[in-house]
């Protein structure tokens, strides 16, 4: 592997600041800020996960076991808000921060100081939001969608709205930074259609963020003015309409779903070629499929609202538009499988999680197709079938991709190899228990169990008990992940090589492991052979 020509051996001529405060609070370095995002996401993942454990403990048996219904509603609301805005999104931003400059040969993000601000807004936003749990009126309890009039009854609405505004500002700044970096900071020779798919997926995701976060800000501001300033946007008594909120929210909410899955597509498109030792099948098709999915995400929002009484024409339009998303998604799944076909495959932990992603995300996709059917959705709407569907997409989809990416790039970050044995233990425990946790919820939903309830009919008892056992063990499995991370970052004796994985291609593998504090201060000389997609235009 001759890659010396692409690496400037003198990159690390000045290291990280020595003082803890200078390094982590004042950092403008994309790697340090990426690390901050990832650590923040991990902390939020365990906080949101502890809420999930409480939810599953309450649902272990019929009847009220541990808490009052209002607190249960707070837990479901907070679990979603923390996991979506605190864990999944910051984890992807952290991965983007770490890897995008390395992948395109840039010395840092285009706007390093704004990068620092984008991150440091988040801990304040989440402290504000989580603090409501300790207040007299309790936290938000109207669901993460914050539908009026239910959400307007909460005393903590103003706190949550302010926290959402802060998260939105952070996301918009992060998105602007990523677009500016990708469009302007690429090394010479890194043409757009030679960029790694992960970089493409983030470029498209960043445009989605810019388009929809202001819409969310507008929607929650209207909630605030309805509650405190005498407006009646969503109050029928004053001439308003609560369905208007649902339209505005889901115009944000559906692209938001893709904001949480498109970077995952990019990650899987990096990992599978590495461990199949083949270039990705259909690179351009993969890029255009991501762009198509992003476009379609703007014209399907009302499939979340089939049950509110939309005109028939609208329901049919949104049904077909939703089903259309299966086409580019199918292209991606086909291409991942085709990349593996005939490849010289090995099954290290990142690859195991990637394969699990392809299979289990597809299950989530299929249940999504079922939900897209208007007549069927009338039965499935607001049942556990929906809960099962979006957890297959977000846990075995987005979260598994984040875990796969962590194992894939951790040796590059820390310079040490993690324990493959314990990582595989983490994988097999996760993949078994996550299915025990969520698969029975399909049956519960089809049998009619509504979501967001602390108590239920005894007819649903068995599947709920199985689901809760799966939940506890899936939660416990993540402690193995934590152990593997701590060992892999600080204690592992096995040093990582620069390229780490035999089949890995791309600029990020041409720098030493661990990646020096400063990289590519002189733009690298790019050989097409070094790039995973260097010969795409040949």
């Amino acid at each position: 592997m001759s890659h010396a020509a692409t690496h400037d051996q003198h990159d690390d001529h000045h290291g990280a600041p020595k003082s803890f405060f200078q390094r982590w609070c004042m950092s403008t370095n994309h790697k340090d800020i990426g690390t901050l995002y990832l650590v923040f996401a991990l902390v939020m993942f365990f906080i949101g996960g502890s809420f999930a454990m409480l939810i599953r403990a309450e649902l272990f048996k019929p009847g009220l076991q541990l808490m009052q219904p209002y607190f249960f509603n707070q837990l479901t609301t907070m679990h979603a808000l923390v996991m979506i805005f605190g864990a999944i999104m910051p984890a992807f931003v952290g991965l983007g921060n770490w890897m995008i400059p390395l992948m395109v040969g840039a010395p840092d993000m285009a706007l390093p100081r704004m990068n620092n601000l984008s991150f440091w807004i988040l801990p304040f936003a989440f402290t504000l939001m989580l603090s409501t749990l300790f207040m007299a009126g309790g936290g938000p309890a109207g669901g993460w969608t914050m539908y009026p009039p239910l959400s307007l009854q909460s005393d903590s609405l103003a706190y949550v709205v302010f926290a959402v505004h802060l998260m939105g500002i952070s996301s918009i700044m992060g998105a602007i930074n990523i677009i500016a970096t990708i469009l302007n900071m690429r090394a010479p020779g890194m043409e757009l259609l030679k960029m790694p798919v992960f970089v493409w997926s983030w470029l498209i995701t960043a445009f989605l963020l810019i388009a929809v976060m202001p819409v969310l800000a507008g929607a929650v501001t209207m909630l605030l003015t309805d509650k405190y300033f005498g407006t009646n946007f969503f109050n029928p008594g004053g001439g308003g309409d609560p369905v208007l909120y649902q339209h505005i929210f889901w115009f944000f909410g559906h692209p938001e779903v893709y904001i949480m899955i498109l970077p995952a597509f990019g990650i899987i498109s990096e990992i599978i070629p590495t461990f199949a030792r083949k270039p990705i099948f259909g690179y351009k098709a993969m890029v255009f499929a991501i762009a198509s999915i992003a476009f379609l995400s703007f014209i399907v929002w009302a499939h979340h609202m089939f049950a509110v009484g939309l005109p028939m024409g609208a329901e049919i339009f949104f049904m077909y538009a939703t089903m259309l998303i299966a086409v580019p998604t199918g292209v991606k799944v086909f291409n991942w499988v085709s990349t593996m076909w005939g490849g010289s495959m090995t099954f290290e932990t990142p690859m195991l999680f990637a394969i699990a992603f392809v299979i289990l995300f597809t299950i989530g996709g299929f249940s999504g197709l079922m939900l897209a059917l208007v007549p069927a959705d009338f039965q499935y709407h607001d049942t556990y079938f929906v809960v099962a569907h979006f957890h297959y997409v977000l846990v075995t989809g987005a979260l598994f991709a984040i875990i796969a990416a962590t194992y894939y790039w951790l040796p590059k970050w820390s310079g040490r190899m993690y324990s493959e044995f314990w990582a595989k233990m983490h994988f097999w425990n996760s993949v078994i228990w996550v299915n025990v946790l969520f698969f029975p919820q399909h049956f519960l939903g089809l049998a009619g169990m509504p979501r967001r309830i602390p108590d239920y009919n005894v007819a649903f008892a068995n599947f709920n008990m199985v689901s809760s056992i799966g939940g506890f063990l899936f939660g416990a499995s993540q402690l193995i992940f934590l152990g593997v991370l701590i060992h892999g970052v600080w204690f592992s004796k096995k040093k990582a090589t620069d390229r780490v994985w035999e089949g890995a291609k791309g600029l990020e593998w041409t720098v030493p492991s661990p990646a020096p504090h400063h990289t590519f201060e002189v733009p690298p000389v790019i050989h097409d052979d070094e790039l995973a997609h260097g010969h795409v235009n040949d």
């Binding site: 677009i179 302007n184 900071m185 010479p188 819409v215 800000a217 507008g218 003015t225 002189v522």
Partner: protein, 61 residues
């Protein structure tokens, strides 16, 4: 003056081996200009979205 300098220094791309890209073909100033232009456009888009939301709130009230 500039002609003399041009004779003494070959353009960067002529000194590179055939299969390599020139090490620096976009000066820092161009990059900074590009970043500024990108950020201006994106901020304008975000501001427009916020403004539309605000106008919507005011008009509907």
């Amino acid at each position: 003056m500039s002609e003399t300098a041009g004779c003494l220094e070959k353009p960067i791309h002529m000194t590179q081996p055939k299969m390599q890209q020139p090490a620096i073909d976009q000066p820092d100033a161009d990059r900074r200009k590009g970043v500024r232009r990108t950020v201006t456009i994106l901020v304008a888009i975000v501001a427009a979205f916020f403004l539309v939301s605000f106008v919507q709130i005011v008009l509907m009230k």
